[in-house]
């Protein structure tokens, strides 16, 4: 990966940066927010990348092996072939696009409710995801 920064939409950078300390969930750093945004943006991601001006969100050195594995796993289905997984620039651009969708979802949901209710909603969502994962035997490894 030649790219050493992970970017977000510059037009929304203020709102996106405010997520970390909004008190709805606990984040250690902006990378945490980015990873959540990616995870929540999967379902509505359409393969795009950031189109507007970009703003550096965090340094890719902050990504752990686990973070990278997760990013590769999420982006792999969006690539033409598995071989493209080694194209870090392509993977990160798509990751930024996927996270951008997630940011939209997070910001919308947070604006609609209080932290307490949001946490309850997230708990229900996690419960549902866990049930589905159990049903689909995702834990069988």
């Amino acid at each position: 990966m030649d790219q050493d920064r992970i970017y977000i939409d510059k037009n929304r950078q203020k709102e996106i940066r405010s997520i970390k300390d909004a008190g709805y969930l606990s984040f250690d750093n902006q990378k945490d927010v980015f990873m959540l945004a990616m995870a929540l943006g999967i379902d509505c991601y359409n393969g795009g990348t950031l189109e507007n001006a970009k703003d550096g969100f965090f340094n890719d050195r902050d990504l752990s092996e686990a973070d990278k594995s997760l990013i590769y796993s999420l982006i792999a289905p969006e690539l033409d072939s598995i071989e493209e997984i080694t194209n870090r620039e392509l993977v990160l651009k798509k990751a930024e696009g996927m996270a951008d969708k997630g940011f939209t979802i997070i910001l919308e949901e947070m604006s609609e409710t209080s932290p307490e209710v949001y946490q309850l909603q997230m708990l229900q969502k996690a419960n549902q995801l866990f049930l589905e994962a159990s049903k689909n035997k995702y834990f069988d490894i």
């Binding site: 008190g23 709805y24 969930l25 606990s26 984040f27 945490d32 990873m35 959540l36 990616m38 995870a39 929540l40 999967i42 092996e65 686990a66 990278k68 594995s69 997760l70 590769y72 796993s73 999420l74 792999a76 289905p77 598995i82 071989e83 997984i85 080694t86 946490q119 997230m122 708990l123 969502k125 996690a126 419960n127 995801l129 866990f130 994962a133 689909n136 995702y138 834990f139 490894i141």
Partner: protein, 657 residues
Amino acid sequence: MKIKNIRINNFRQYMDVLLEFPEANVYDLNYILAENGIGKTTLLNSITWCFYGKELHITEGLKDKTLPLLTLKKLREMNVSDEADTSVSITLEDIDGEITFTRWVTYRKTEEGMAYEKSKSQKVIIAPKSGEPDVLSSEEDFKIEVNKRLPFKIQQFFFFDGEQLDTYLASTAGENVEQTVLQISQIDLLVTMEKNLATVSDEMRRAAARANSQSAEINKRYEKQKDEIEGENGLEAKYRKDKQDLEDAKFRLDAIKSELGEDPDVTELEAKRDDLDAKLRELKTEQESNAYAIKYFLKKYLILLSSLPRMKKMYDLILEKEKNKQLPPKYDKEELEEMVKNHHCNVCDRELDTNSTIFILELIKRYELGQETGTLLTRMLGTLQIQIQEASRYEAERDKLYGEKKRIEQDIATLSNEIKRLDSIIDKYTNKDHIIMLYRNRSELERYIESANKTVIREEIELETAKKELDELHKELLAALNKDENNKKLRKEAALAENAKNKVSEIITQIKGGIRKQISDEMSAKFFELMWKRKFSSVEITENYSASVINNDGFECLGSCSAAERELLVLAFTLALHKESGFDGPLVIDTPISRISGDLRVAFAKVLRSVSENKQIILFVTDDEYSVNVRDVFEPYANRKYKFELVDEDYVKVGEM
């Protein structure tokens, strides 16, 4: 006998007041309603001033009684050298007729604007139902006529303040009662005789002893011993005082315990509440940590569980490729590059042609990409496995965190309820400082009683020993005197005087005892006649002149009686005293129920109403005392009602209600 009217002119805040108490139909219940600070006690003082020339009650806000009696408003209105009278006139009425006592002081205004007491005087007008009135003007005649009806020595049983009514029998362990009984026994002459005979006996014994050196020496020791026992600061006085202080302390302790009831110490409650507050703060900190952990947990598992399908898919893909050996094999890239460099195939062991060289170069390039992908996928396998396992622990971690959350919330709720409960108990005390003071006093009294008990026991033993020594000395002295034939006559006279003194003492004790018994019986009858509930089995004035109240369980309980019960006891004692002394005067009571709380106020108000069927009662009550319930007891039956108002904080205006 009753008070028919009271007229007051220029007596402190009373400029011109006439209070009339006409003949009552059934209840001779009269009351004057006035807010605190208006001058009810001053009114009481105007009455005692008229009869006895003294203001006998402490007046709030008027500590300096050296101020002239003259109303200040009146003084301001006067010109220099003008004169004005302060006067109080009270008319008493009984079956024989009326008697009016008037006392006055004439003041002159000085150039400095002060009131100068120019003269003072008094007069009594005795107006029998038949015959001409008689006017007496001398101070002596005035005193005699007052003492015939309302003797000064027991004036406190006609003119009460509520405080006295509550504490009279309680605080003095019999001393007051004994004095009162002595005063109404009309045995002053006998008491004087007893003292004189004791003096004569002592003098004669001393004179007899002087005639003989041995007797004189023994008498010296005898007198010294006697002085040590009976002297002003002798063992007996000390013992009596300490014992009385101890009894007082025990009584005060009982009263405090009774007032405190079952309520715990507010200080302890507040300490407990503070402790719970600290625990609550700890729990809230724990709750904050838990809330943070939950938010962290949610973020972590939202990432893991949302990504899980794709992670699992990737994991399975890698496994499958590995299983199918689709991942590029490991090879020696340097060997391939060396083969191209040397144009020699190490596998075929022949020279490479151009096509073979191009093939190997493409292979190197393709294998380079495949190797990077393979390495990446292989590296991912381990971390994906860890993350999938991590995701599977969601349920356990959720239950732990949310279980913790629930426990903390329950603990907080329990603690908050306990704090609320304590607060409600603490808030019940409208006067926390008072309760704290009571607990402090209780501790101090308990410590004092423990120590005073030991002191009194020691003093009692010392006194007994000293008395035995005195007896021995007395015997020794008599023996020495008997040996001396020269003073036979003196000895006989001394013995006679001593016997006479002992006889008089006996008579005094008998008379006092008899009157005590009569008062005690009458008090008991009145007490049970007026008492609103049956929780006591007997009340009496004991042989040592202390009041005693025994409850149905057979225990002494004066100390734990309520203020209302104590006031009733004093009232019963007073009624008995009036009857037995023959001085059947009115009862004037300032703030009679202010120290009584709750429903007992009504009960005691009913008692006062009931007493007024046979005796004139004049009450000075505050707005606080005159609650709706008390008003319902008094108002429909009252003979006369007055309301006092203070005008311009200067003088009292009287209106009928």
